[in-house]
């Protein structure tokens, strides 16, 4: 089975695209393949996460400080249900946006099915904010040896995206994942990511995506229940993006 998945991973590494913003260090390092992340910070990128904890994230896209996005995510388990709440604020007085979200994930063993409802606000100048409601839907399996995930972002919207991801454990402490993104508008793309435990408290995560070609890499330090992660992501035409996650896990 693992060989089959590895073959799939290799086949999927073809140059295509990637669209939605990645506001966490983990998702920037992994190009959005959240099957390899074990952080509640990524709850804003996929509804199908079973983790609990609280995370604060900062993302400076393309080194543009005024566009810095600050995110707060928290998730708690109630029996089989994982409730995730979060908010993201980015921009300054001239232009800013907010994303409020509430997600429910049903966790049955290694299977997770989740739904997240977003209220997205965008404001330019002194005009009233524009509201939009977005929904994400996902189904994931997170086994020890391998995992897969299908998620639909911005359900029934023009910006709808379908993400199909798979992951596998190559050896102990090393995992790899690949994904394909189909975008309703514009080009989709392929992604490939790895997560390597360099030491007991240190993990290196890296990724590559197509269309545009971007590399991402990040280091995660673990100290008891705390995770601190810093990552960067390149762009073919723009400056580096920097991200930082601070996570408390329970």
């Amino acid at each position: 089975m693992q060989r089959l998945i590895l073959a799939c991973l290799l086949l999927m590494v073809l140059p295509l695209g990637a669209l939605l913003p990645m506001n966490t260090a983990s998702s920037n390092a992994l190009a959005g393949i959240t099957l390899l992340s074990k952080t509640v910070a990524d709850r804003q990128h996929t509804p199908a996460l079973p983790f609990t904890g609280i995370a604060v994230s900062a993302n400076v896209p393309f080194s543009d400080a005024p566009s810095t996005a600050f995110s707060l995510n928290a998730a708690q388990n109630f029996s089989y249900v994982n409730l995730g709440l979060g908010a993201t604020h980015s921009g300054d007085y001239d232009y800013n946006s907010q994303d409020f979200r509430l997600g429910l994930a049903l966790c049955l063993g290694d299977f997770v099915a989740g739904y997240t409802q977003h209220l997205f606000l965008e404001r330019a100048g002194v005009d009233q904010s524009h509201q939009s409601w977005n929904s994400d839907l996902a189904l994931a399996y997170r086994g020890d040896g391998y995992g897969y995930e299908a998620r639909v972002m911005n359900l029934a919207k023009e910006e709808q995206e379908l993400h199909l991801n798979v992951s596998t454990k190559i050896i102990e402490g090393v995992r790899a994942g690949a994904g394909y993104v189909y975008a309703k508008q514009g080009d989709g793309g392929y992604r490939f990511a790895t997560s390597i435990d360099l030491a007991e408290n240190l993990t290196l995560q890296s990724s590559w995506q197509s269309n545009p070609s971007r590399f991402g890499a990040g280091l995660k330090f673990k100290l008891k229940a705390w995770d601190l992660m810093y990552s960067i992501r390149t762009h073919s035409a723009l400056n580096l993006s920097h991200s930082l996650d601070l996570v408390y896990v329970w």
Binding site: I54, L72, L85, H89, Y93, N96, Q98, F100, L119, W250
Partner: protein, 499 residues
């Protein structure tokens, strides 16, 4: 004249996350101020001698509050002070309450509740525990009763006499006649002297309460409205009956020639409660010192029927439903439907609230309320639960459908908060965002009649740090807006209690 303008989205700007009311908040602004004061008095009453101070600085509405309470043998002294730093305005009030087995007496600022509160009382719609009772005063800026009152009880007999005399701010015309009377001190208008003398008597048995109230109200000036005279007489009768699971009660009121009535039927069984009430409002202008009960519009000759059901559900949940229909003379019926589903288990609480109502219900009260749809809907989802250890999370999201075609016209308020308690320390972080169609009016937390202009939308981050040990509790709260650089404030709080 605009009776009350407010911003429903901003009602919970304060860190209070207490009772979530099912009713439309616009109809319950006075009740929310009452709740705030009750919480404050409850805190002050934890020890015999307590002082609480609060300074809201650098905000749009900077104020200083100083409140004290002293418990004496068979007596209690409350002293309240407020200073409005913008208007350079001071207000002070006190209440001395003395009690014995047969007598209660109050001196200073007080409120009296009789029966259902149709004539005198609070904004609470709940069934009274007693025939009449002296209530805590509200903000020293509010005009309540100022004078003295005494109540006597002997076995089943109850009687009270009360008097009030004070100078109240009033808008006058060129001839010195009263156009309107202010409910809050502002030192902006002229004044008129108000004198009230009243008495009530009745019986109070375990299953029966009945009594009558008679009151005379007089002003030293004529009113512009020819239908209003300087002197008003008011008579009210109340009766309540308990029959196992059934409670019946009714209050009728006659002010001058205007009748009003409130009838209520309540049935309560294990896991189920039903309430049916009928109200009729014949008062063109309510008593200036009385807080308006929510269920009656201020329109003359209006009738309102209320139907309430409450069910206990599995999984420690409950369902409440309310349907109310209001008929005005010559107008079309206005209705509202409210449903709430709540879950409460230890520290974990979740709730969902749905409100569907004719928008005119609110525009009658708040002329700044704008809606393109005759029928509006609101959704509210809230929760509060522990995360890990001493860390707690809360969220509160409200969304109002006022325009179905352009959803960006609709109003919302979203709050995400965290609280952390460790020994003597308490840290609270909140992020609040709201959007409304236009700028609107926000009622003060302590004084429902004091309003300040509220931005049509904002994103506010607040951090509250509190420390308490022994007799002292100190706290500081900072707020900052992401959209308005001038909208920042600091609030300092201090409480001292001695055994």
């Amino acid at each position: 004249m605009k009776y009350l303008a407010l911003a429903w989205l901003c009602l919970c700007l304060t860190p209070v996350f207490a009772q979530i009311s099912e009713e439309l908040p616009e109809l319950e602004i006075p009740a929310q101020a009452e709740e705030t004061w009750e919480q404050l008095f409850s805190e002050l009453r934890e020890q015999p001698l307590s002082l609480a101070g609060r300074a809201d600085l650098f905000s749009k509405n900077p104020q200083i509050h100083l409140n004290g309470r002293w418990q004496l043998p068979r007596a209690e002294l409350l002293a309240l002070y407020n200073r409005d730093l913008n208007k350079d305005l001071d207000a002070f009030s006190f209440r001395l309450a003395v009690g014995s087995n047969h007598w209660d007496a109050v001196l200073g600022n007080y409120r009296l509740r009789f029966g259902r509160g149709l004539a005198l009382g609070t904004s609470s719609r709940s069934m009274p525990d007693s025939l009449f009772s002296f209530q805590n005063p509200l903000s020293p800026r509010n005009y309540g009763l100022l004078g003295a009152g005494t109540a006597y009880r002997h076995k089943a007999l109850r009687a009270t006499v009360f008097a009030s005399m004070q100078s109240r701010e009033a808008k006058l015309d060129a001839e010195g006649r009263i156009r309107s009377i202010q409910k809050s001190r502002g030192e902006e208008f002229s004044s008129t002297t108000e004198s009230i003398l009243g008495a009530a008597a009745g019986i109070s048995l375990p299953s029966v309460n009945a009594g009558i109230l008679c009151q005379r109200l007089e002003y030293d000036r004529e009113f512009v409205n020819p239908e209003m005279s300087r002197t008003h007489w008011m008579a009210s009768a109340y009766a309540g009956l308990k029959l196992k699971r059934i409670r019946l009660d009714a209050e009728t009121l006659l002010q001058d020639t205007h009748p009003a009535a409130l009838l209520n039927f309540n049935y309560k069984a294990a896991g189920f409660e039903q309430n049916i009430s009928y109200a009729r409002n014949g008062l063109q202008n309510r008593q200036p010192h009385a807080l308006t009960p929510a269920l009656l519009s201020k329109t003359t000759d209006s009738n309102e029927w209320n139907f309430d059901w409450a069910f206990a559900l599995p999984l420690k949940s409950s369902l409440k439903l309310r349907y109310a229909i209001n008929n005005d003379a010559g107008g079309s019926p206005l209705s509202r439907f409210i449903g709430s589903l709540t879950h409460s288990h230890k520290q974990r609480k979740f709730g969902f609230l749905f409100q569907s109502y004719d928008s005119e219900i609110i525009t009658r009260i708040d002329s700044s309320y704008v809606s393109s749809e005759p029928r509006n809907h609101r959704f509210r989802l809230w929760g509060r639960y522990p995360l890990a250890g001493a860390l707690e999370q809360n969220f509160d999201f409200m969304y109002g459908v006022q325009d179905k075609k352009n959803h960006s016209q609709n109003s919302f308020r979203a709050k995400l908060g965290f609280a952390y308690v460790e020994k003597d320390w308490e840290l609270t972080l909140e992020y609040l965002s709201w959007q409304n169609l236009h700028e609107s009016w926000q009622s003060d937390e302590f004084d429902p009649w004091l309003q300040s202009l509220c931005a049509s939308e904002d994103r506010v981050l607040s951090l509250d740090l509190a420390w308490g040990r022994g007799a002292w509790k100190l706290a500081v709260k900072g707020t900052a807006s992401f959209l308005d650089v001038k909208n920042r404030g600091i609030s300092l709080r201090a409480t001292w209690k001695r055994k």
